[in-house]
């Protein structure tokens, strides 16, 4: 499937055009869409950021990590603490007074989100350092344990996290522009990482760790770097999520949250950035659409009561079906490229002219 390579200038023009189209779309959406639709658009952006970060860890480096909910929790709490006005925090911490540093710190939204990512990255280093040497499923279960520990700790340090009550009324700074801005930063950064020489090394480790090691690659160092970057963006996603849903508590960061993100990555295709974006859009929309199943339905004279649990039932069934019948997901490891895109519009060349390379 080789297509004529468009020139660099053409590609840049096209990228610029696509960005302009996105901005135009978001602008229109902000003007005309209702609150619910905008919320879904926002969720798509945040979920895609989270999926990309997990894809970097699992899809590109081959580390099966189930700790995303933990990183998100750290990002979310950091951001919530930093953007809430001092007076509001005084009202919030009813049962136990917050530590002065928690009480009095306040930063602009951008800084808060960034710090959320940095705190998650630090947690990533701390947890990654001991557990990253573990292979395969053991790494998965250890990171899952880490996420659970974070959640339990968050319940038990009320002077920082307000305990089981969590935060309510977090300022809703996460507009569509912030979310899509961070999404573009994430896409740009991860694409650059994955296509760099460093990224090739990660893929080499994923494909055969022993071989990579014997080629003199510092496997541990590369894995750590990838894990930390993934944790950083998971923290960013969590921070944006906190401001988007305006309420957080430890119950929000159960394993199911990691499962949803894993689902996006697997459905989109492990090791495909395009796949994660498509998966982020598709799965988020699907999850919202599935809420319909849980609401009461009326067909003419019949009324079916809403069935709680149906949404996740269908959703988990979908994951099992994907993993059984289409393991590579929608995109496999393929990526979107302009040359492929332009190729769609050209008449497919007759077979004899097929390029032989």
């Amino acid at each position: 499937m080789k297509h004529a390579q468009p020139s660099a200038a053409t590609r840049h023009m096209l990228t610029f055009g696509a960005l302009a189209a996105l901005v135009l779309f978001l602008f229109t959406a902000e003007k005309f869409a209702d609150g619910y639709q905008i919320q879904i658009l926002n969720l798509i952006a945040v979920n895609t950021i989270l999926a990309l970060s997990l894809n970097l860890i699992y899809g590109f480096t081959g580390m099966f990590s189930l700790g995303h909910a933990g990183f998100m929790a750290i990002g979310a709490y950091t951001c919530a603490i930093l953007i809430m006005p001092v007076g509001q925090k005084e009202m919030l911490f009813l049962l136990e007074e917050a530590y002065p540093i928690i009480q009095n710190s306040q930063t602009p939204f951008f800084v808060a989100v960034l710090l959320g990512g940095i705190m998650a990255a630090i947690a990533g280093i701390l947890i990654g350092f001991p557990v990253i040497r573990l292979g395969g499923d053991y790494l998965g279960i250890a990171t899952l344990g880490f996420a659970e520990i974070i959640r339990i700790v968050a319940t038990n340090i009320p002077r920082v996290t307000n305990g089981a009550l969590g935060f309510k009324g977090i300022p809703d700074f996460a507009t569509i522009w912030w979310n899509y801005g961070w999404l573009l930063i994430t896409i740009y950064f991860i694409t650059r990482v994955v296509n760099s020489n460093f990224g090739n090394t990660l893929k080499a480790i994923r494909d055969d760790e022993t071989a990579a090691q014997s080629m003199g690659i510092n496997v541990f160092g590369h894995k750590m770097a990838s894990f930390t970057m993934g944790a950083f963006f998971a923290g960013i996603g969590g921070a944006l999520m906190a401001s988007l849903v305006t309420t957080i508590d430890p119950k929000m960061f159960l394993f199911i949250l990691t499962f949803n993100i894993l689902m996006i990555v697997v459905a989109g295709g492990l090791g495909s950035i395009t796949g994660s974006i498509i998966g982020g859009i598709g799965i988020t929309a699907l999850l919202e659409w599935l809420r319909v199943v849980e609401n009461p339905m009326t067909f003419g004279d019949f009324t079916i009561n809403g069935i709680p649990g149906m949404r996740m039932l269908v959703f988990s069934l979908a994951l099992v079906i994907i993993i059984l019948f289409k393991q590579e997901g929608i995109m496999g490891m393929r990526e979107f490229s302009w040359s492929w895109f332009l190729g769609l519009f050209k008449k497919s060349p007759p077979k004899k002219n097929k390029e032989v390379r």
Partner: protein, 297 residues
């Protein structure tokens, strides 16, 4: 702490520990043979408790019959899960089967929510289990004796199957080398099905006793015991049945004792098992009794 309190805690620890041990055996057997963390195992545990509840309230079965039916149904379910969700992935990368297992786990949880409802339900307890036995100033629930005794009986039965029967020989052979076993004429698929059957039956026994000991059932009741039993299996040395028993019992003891001696840490009770897991994986990944499992390349 008075000595009677201490004995009380010991008994509680033993009860909890033997329940963990029964679940842990299922994890360790499946992992030993397929190198798969059967995430859905905790849900099998939960469904068994619901089956009993269903049998009694819906079909008016006598208690004992309901128990037997529940165990039977759970065995069928264990085999079914393997056939549907794991068997097609035997040759796929190991993580694919693990993801499938996670999917099945959530599926069953939500299946229970859809069918049984998310509200916790009260479980029927026969009267002879309610009478408290007083021994000095120690109050003993009959269950604190029944549960460990039952667990020990089941484990002895299991050891008999694994070490004295042909099917057990097949299991041990497969856990060493699946391909060679197949070549030597072991009916691999049948033995794997049997493994899931036995593991599920033990989880069912544990689930039913759990629901008697802590008499409330709900769809998420299998999650935390499931994780902890897996941790117990790793702690004892995954792949080893004796290890799972020892790991489960120790974990139960430690949990009860930590809460008893350091009441301040009660909130961290669930975190303790996970911390233990990470520590074990770092210091001695093969666990207390485990041999090193070869990675299948």
């Amino acid at each position: 702490m008075s000595s009677s309190m201490f004995v009380q805690h010991m008994l509680n620890g033993l009860t909890l520990g033997s329940l963990y041990a029964l679940i842990a055996i299922g994890y360790t057997m499946v992992y030993g043979i397929l190198r798969l963390i059967n995430f859905a195992h905790g849900e099998v545990f939960m469904l068994a408790a619901y089956f009993v509840y269903w049998g009694i309230t819906l079909f008016n079965l006598p208690w004992v019959i309901a128990l037997l039916c529940a165990v039977g149904l759970t065995c069928v379910m264990g085999i079914g899960i393997d056939q549907v969700a794991y068997k097609p992935l035997r040759d796929a990368p190991r993580i694919s089967a693990l993801i499938s297992a996670i999917g099945v786990s959530f599926f069953l949880q939500n299946f229970a929510v859809v069918v049984f409802g998310a509200i916790p339900r009260e479980v029927y307890r026969p009267e002879w289990l309610e009478n408290v036995i007083l021994w000095g100033d120690i109050r003993i629930l009959p269950l604190t004796i029944v549960v460990p005794a039952m667990s020990i009986a089941l484990m002895l039965g299991l050891l008999y199957i694994v070490y004295r029967t042909k099917a057990g020989l097949g299991m041990r052979a497969i856990s060493k080398d699946i391909e060679t076993s197949r070549l030597m004429g072991v009916k691999v698929n049948r033995v794997i099905a049997l493994t899931f059957c036995i593991g599920s039956a033990l989880a069912a026994a544990s689930g039913i006793m759990w629901s008697l000991r802590y008499p409330q059932i709900q769809p998420i009741m299998g999650v935390i015991p499931g994780f902890k039993a897996f941790i117990a299996a790793v702690f004892g040395g995954i792949g080893s049945i004796q290890g799972a028993v020892i790991g489960g019992t120790l974990l139960g003891f430690m949990e009860i004792m930590i809460v008893a001696f350091f009441p301040d840490l009660a909130g961290y009770r669930d975190a303790f098992a996970f911390i233990l897991l990470i520590v074990i994986l770092l210091i001695k990944p093969t666990g207390l009794m485990g041999e090193k499992l070869e990675d299948k390349i």
